[in-house]
């Protein structure tokens, strides 16, 4: 069985800070990391491979430096990786990204299952999985917390809903997006790291992917970011001073006021 895992390079979120003076985001380190959710996607693919045999291919669209996270994916056990990289892919929204990834999947050929993370921690849209599935005209299930059964042509998943879960059976090929409690990702092993150095790493540009220029990058993106700003943090908090009894009284009063004086219903 051929399984493709979609992995995205994201800025390491730990180092986000706001500069109080200029009110802009400052990054203290320049690290890029694999999107945290995608580690669970990789692990799930490897688990399937452990049982069913087959091949796991890590796929990404990104700048050349994305090679690093793809090598990391291979050191964890992915057999090979494909990077869609071209200046023409830059500035893609989710529709253009999904289209571009679909070209990679068509190049890889005969893929049975595509696993994405639930969402990427920078763009945060969680749209790639369903859009990729639709672009490939195959079904999908989002928010999968368990693969209950999988065979060559069918998968049964547990999908997290807002108020419980569903068990859904789906015909392959298909896309799933996975949540973070689906598994405990394995760490890279030394043999894995050694293997990853020589593992096949293929870069595909827009031309080789036979991309329709009108569907990629910023040109192929229906949405445009026209403005960005730092969300207004609230004004200065009112400090409740005094001894502990004063504080208790004050808090009790605020709670009562909010709860019983209708403010809760406004």
């Amino acid at each position: 069985m051929k399984i493709v895992v979609c992995v995205k390079q994201v800025p390491s979120s730990n180092e986000v800070k706001l500069d109080p003076k200029t009110n802009t985001i400052i990054r203290e380190a320049d690290k890029s990391v694999i999107n945290p959710y995608d580690k669970f996607a990789i692990e799930e693919a490897l688990k399937i491979k452990d049982n069913l045999k087959g091949e796991v291919i890590a796929l990404s669209m990104g700048i050349p430096a994305t090679e690093k996270i793809l090598r990391d994916a291979m050191s964890r056990g992915c057999d090979r990786s494909v990077l869609l990289s071209d200046k023409k892919f830059a500035g893609a929204d989710t529709l253009a990204t999904a289209y571009t990834l679909s070209l990679g999947i068509k190049k890889i050929k005969n893929v049975s299952l595509i696993i994405c993370g639930k969402m990427a921690i920078d763009g945060d849209t969680a749209q790639i999985g369903p859009e990729l599935a639709e672009t490939l005209k195959i079904p999908h299930i989002t928010d999968v917390s368990e693969i209950i059964k999988i065979s060559e042509n069918e998968i049964t998943c547990r999908k997290i809903n807002d108020n419980g879960y569903s068990i859904i059976k789906m015909v392959l090929p298909a896309v799933i997006t996975v949540v973070k409690d689906i598994n405990l990702p394995r760490l890279p092993t030394i043999p894995g790291v050694l293997k990853s150095i020589h593992a096949s790493f293929e870069i595909i540009n827009a031309h080789n992917a036979t991309a329709n220029i009108n569907r990629i990058g910023s040109t192929g993106s229906p949405t445009q970011v026209i403005d960005t700003f730092i969300p207004e943090r609230k004004n200065v908090a009112i400090e409740i001073e005094g001894d502990i009894d004063k504080k208790i009284d004050f808090i009790g009063d605020i709670i009562k006021e909010i709860m019983y004086n209708g403010r809760i219903d406004n």
Partner: protein, 392 residues
């Protein structure tokens, strides 16, 4: 293709743009800022530049004639025979946008046993209700809904289509956007109409650290999802409003590829995303025993308990209780935060809270930077006192 332009004549080499870039796409060469391929055109640097030396140049696309596309549509979502609050919130918002655009608000409802719900849908703002009644929607499978949505969009040409950012909405809306080859903006917190009549969609990204305003100028419908509780719902009784019911055609579905085997409702894990009052606890509560006190307090207020990530990591609470970037985003009317430091990943989940009371022993804790009321002190001691006060 879009291009980030840096005017080297204006650039003073101050480096502020480099610091502002989340993607490390900017650097200094010969004391001037330069951009490389990592740029995603998010625009953060434009604002950071003190001398206005940076802007984005976009290719001028051919303006299409989009006058055939009309009206604001809302997909009504039901759960166990009840319309979800977010659908009413969208209708209310839709009415506001429609007033500006001078168009109609149309509701689409696909489900069983829906006739009795029409009155409410009208009262919250719909001019027309498009409906199809059938039991095939009960399972909430995307595959069934997508064909109806696709049909409706192709026959009626909506200009704007709004969805709740529920688990269901976040699965069906992107599927539809890809089917129609149009844009979709996720989790919008602000929707308005700009001078050209376009839908201006503002949404948080980077775990809430950055707000982005997004438009979809050349594709229709302009699609957006909105989280529940972000917008307000209220009824209007307007006798003059034209109301219309349209029964849409049945669509034959073939070759179903997904099958629902079972759907389990877990009442207990009422999602904290919908809670009106939340008591959140972090490592500062000290020991697991103290959770009992917090629970007592929460019960008193009819509140839900939420936690910071370390409490989930050490097993004091389930993941469904985690608030933050990698947990749930909450929007309660009242949040009482106990022993939470206010790490940026945690703050990403609480920006929707209306009133925040924070209790922390550290007067410098970041949680105070977003709180309305700051209480410096031991949270458990204070909590015990408040419980006493509220029970007498």
């Amino acid at each position: 293709m879009a291009e980030l332009i840096i005017d080297t004549k204006k650039c003073i080499g101050c480096g502020l743009c480099i610091k502002s870039c989340a993607y490390n796409a900017l650097s200094l060469a010969n004391k001037k800022a330069v951009v490389d391929d990592d740029c995603v055109f998010c625009g953060s640097c434009i604002k950071s530049c003190p001398v206005e030396a940076i802007w984005i140049e976009r290719e001028i696309v051919e303006i299409k004639d989009l006058t055939n596309y009309k009206d604001i549509w809302v997909l009504i979502e039901e759960d166990r025979d009840e319309i979800l609050p977010v659908s009413y919130e969208l209708l209310t918002k839709g009415r506001e946008l429609a007033a500006e655009k001078k168009c109609d608000v149309n509701a689409l409802i696909l489900g069983n046993n829906i006739q009795k719900k029409f009155e409410n849908i009208f009262e919250f703002g719909a001019n027309k209700i498009y409906y199809f009644e059938g039991s095939e929607f009960n399972e909430k499978l995307d595959e069934v809904f997508i064909e109806y949505l696709d049909y409706v969009c192709k026959v009626y040409n909506p200009e704007i289509f709004l969805f709740g950012a529920t688990g269901f909405g976040r699965s069906i809306a992107p599927k539809l956007a890809a089917r129609l080859n149009t844009g979709l903006t996720a989790d919008c917190t602000i929707l308005s109409i700009d001078d050209n009549g376009l839908l201006k969609q503002t949404r948080p990204a980077f775990g809430g650290n950055l707000m982005a305003t997004i438009i979809c100028p050349n594709h229709r419908p302009q699609m957006a999802t909105v989280r529940s509780g972000v917008m307000k719902a209220y009824k209007v009784i307007d006798k003059n409003r034209r109301k219309e019911l349209i029964n849409i055609e049945a669509i034959k579905l073939q070759n179903k590829k997904t099958e629902l085997i079972e759907r389990i409702i877990e009442e207990k894990t009422k999602s904290i995303s919908d809670a009106e009052i939340i008591v959140s606890v972090g490592k500062g509560i000290g020991s697991q025993k103290n959770i009992e006190i917090v629970q007592k307090f929460a019960d008193l207020l009819g509140a839900e308990i939420g936690v910071s990530r370390p409490l989930v990591d050490i097993g004091w609470a389930g993941y469904e209780k985690q608030i933050g970037q990698t947990g749930s985003v909450i929007a309660p009317k009242l949040l009482i935060a106990l022993g939470i430091s206010g790490a940026i990943q945690h703050l990403a989940g609480i920006s929707g809270a209306q009133t925040i009371i924070a209790i922390n022993t550290d007067p410098e804790a970041s949680i105070f930077s977003v709180a309305d009321y700051k209480v410096v002190g031991d949270c458990i001691e204070i909590l015990k006192g408040v419980i006493n006060k509220l029970t007498v």
